[in-house]
């Protein structure tokens, strides 16, 4: 029925319009967003845990590294980090491969306004198919997101570790536990409840950062909304329309509102269950962490 759109009117025109190949790509790109969230969240959490452990290390230089990681990422606009890491990581990988694969290359990699590595070191190889380029782009985006959000998570977890009552650790040590044992058996299990408000806040921020994938060159929902919404003339498409970008972005706005709202309700329930019957000034912790938010 969709083969001759010019004869369609009203609802059936719309149904056909919304199921064109490009629209299916648009819907699939929501999957890209979800995949990014699914991969980034655990990796960032792990990085955050590592960062917090570094920051509270008793060896001063390690503590400095941890604290610098937290402070620098938080003090500089995160889009600057996104734009930086995408190029920097790409160049770092290519440079490493360049050193391994072309050891007898004697020119510098930075020549004037160019970054030059040998052909065998290019990532992805210039002969590789289009999907390899897309996967590689997505992979870089995931690492970038993880590094940035790892620092935010490190900040939250660092705070949560300090929120665990000191007496708990002292008791553990009084019972003869070593420092390491007290950390893993007493501090870490108790820390999560304190970290949860900050981490749920971070999850919201992460959701709201996903449209930045567009800046990293991934064909995400913003890319498709711009592409599909632009006005189309009858020469190029069988579904001509005016400039609908406003409506497409309104749709994205509603999508994100629904997504953050549902997350908020679920996380609230989780928090209530975890702190059930627990005597902690959870409200204060919650307020402190939920009011300050990075904006993307």
């Amino acid at each position: 029925m969709c083969s001759d759109p010019s004869s369609l009117h009203g609802l059936s025109w719309f149904l056909c319009y919304l199921t064109t190949g490009k629209h299916l790509n648009f819907y699939a790109s929501f999957g890209t967003v979800l995949l990014l969230l699914a991969v980034t969240a655990p990796v960032a959490l792990a990085l955050g845990f590592g960062g917090a452990m570094l920051a509270r290390s008793r060896i001063a230089p390690l503590a400095w590294i941890g604290k610098a990681y937290i402070a620098v990422v938080r003090g500089v606009p995160d889009i600057a980090f996104f734009l930086f890491f995408v190029i920097a990581l790409d160049q770092a990988f290519e440079y490493l491969r360049h050193r391994i694969k072309c050891p007898d290359w004697n020119q510098p990699v930075y020549q004037g306004n160019d970054f030059i590595v040998c052909d065998a070191a290019k990532l992805p190889l210039s002969t590789s198919p289009q999907w390899m380029h897309e996967v590689y782009g997505f992979f870089l985006a995931v690492i970038t997101f993880s590094i940035v959000f790892g620092a935010f998570a490190a900040n939250v977890i660092f705070g949560a570790m300090r929120a665990v009552p000191r007496a708990q650790i002292e008791t553990a040590e009084a019972y003869g536990m070593t420092h390491r044992q007290a950390f893993w058996r007493v501090l870490v299990p108790q820390m999560w409840v304190y970290a949860l408000p900050g981490l749920s806040n971070l999850w919201m921020v992460l959701i709201k950062a996903t449209p930045l994938l567009f800046l990293l060159g991934v064909e995400d929902i913003v890319y498709w909304a711009r592409d599909l919404g632009g006005s189309k003339t009858p020469q190029f498409t069988s579904f001509p329309h005016g400039d609908w970008r406003m409506w497409y972005f309104l749709f994205l706005l509603v999508f994100y509102l629904a997504f953050t709202r549902v997350s908020e309700i679920v996380l609230d329930r989780l928090m209530r269950r975890l702190t059930h019957g627990q005597a902690m000034s959870g409200n204060a912790a919650l307020r402190d962490s939920s009011t300050a938010e990075v904006r993307t």
């Binding site: 937290i70 500089v76 606009p77 600057a80 190029i87 306004n113 970054f115 972005f249 994205l252 953050t260």
Partner: protein, 267 residues
């Protein structure tokens, strides 16, 4: 071309004053530092105006959320929900295309499609919503005894708000509001990366940093310069806010404002 010549040519380039063409070949460190600093003017412009205007709207919205009229309360709740629940990046896109279609119907509103006004409006509404949430939390945290004491001394209506409620609200909200200001300044870097066009390459700090990274293929120079500028900006903002904090807390025995500000630095 000496570095001083470069500064003269490019220091106000982001406003369209000085050299027309951006450097394309043989880019020097001096050019990068100057142009990225020039772009910072836009970040400061957006940040200060949005924050100053947003402050008043935020106070209004926070009060509206405590209103007894359910219609006003719902309206304020929705305002905060819409702007806090969606990405600023999408808000910029939607705002720009909304202004663009408004322009089609009312040509006088075409001015909104320029970044200096259109993006400012979006940032203003956005920061107002976030600040309203902070102020609302502070309003609810005001000790009941303070308000009862005000009643006992015969404060009513606006004078009670002006002399008791509002200063206490600000005092309680200030640490979080300082963070809000810092994050707003960071958020201004999004403007020229969303739909708003940088006419004649008049852009902000990140716009120029990105320009140099694209031109030189070396991200390790422009982005650290940008980071340096931002760390400086952050320190200035923290300094100004802690001055205000000291004034808000001047009647209290200790000086918590100072300690708070230091704490923010390490965060």
């Amino acid at each position: 071309m000496s570095c001083w010549d470069t500064v003269q040519a490019y220091a106000l380039r982001s406003l369209g004053i000085g050299e027309k063409l951006l450097p394309t070949a043989d880019i020097t460190l001096c050019q990068q530092v100057t142009l990225i600093g020039s772009g910072l003017i836009w970040n400061i412009y957006f940040g200060i105006l949005a924050l100053a205007a947003g402050f008043f709207l935020a106070t209004g919205v926070a009060l509206a959320r405590t209103s007894r009229n359910p219609l006003i309360r719902k309206l304020a709740d929705w305002f905060v929900f819409v702007f806090r629940g969606s990405p600023l990046f999408i808000q910029f896109f939607f705002g720009y295309f909304l202004f663009l279609s408004l322009k089609g119907q009312f040509p006088t509103l075409g001015i909104l499609t320029n970044a200096w006004l259109g993006a400012l409006v979006v940032l203003f509404l956005n920061t107002a919503a976030y600040s309203a949430e902070i102020f609302y939390g502070a309003l609810r945290a005001i000790p009941r005894g303070d308000l009862e004491a005000a009643d006992a001394y015969g404060f009513t209506g606006f004078s009670k708000f002006r002399r008791i409620t509002w200063p206490t609200m600000l005092r309680l909200a200030w640490p979080a509001y300082t963070n809000e200001a810092l994050f707003l300044f960071q958020a201004t870097t999004l403007v020229f990366f969303s739909a708003f066009p940088a006419l004649q390459q008049k852009g902000d700090a990140l716009y120029y940093a990105n320009y140099f990274a694209d031109k030189t293929f070396n991200p390790f120079v422009p982005y650290p310069i940008l980071a340096g500028y931002y760390i400086g900006l952050t320190l200035v903002v923290i300094g100004l806010f802690s001055l205000a904090s000291r004034r808000l807390n001047r009647h209290l025995p200790s000086v918590p404002g100072r300690r708070k500000a230091k704490f923010q630095l390490v965060r």
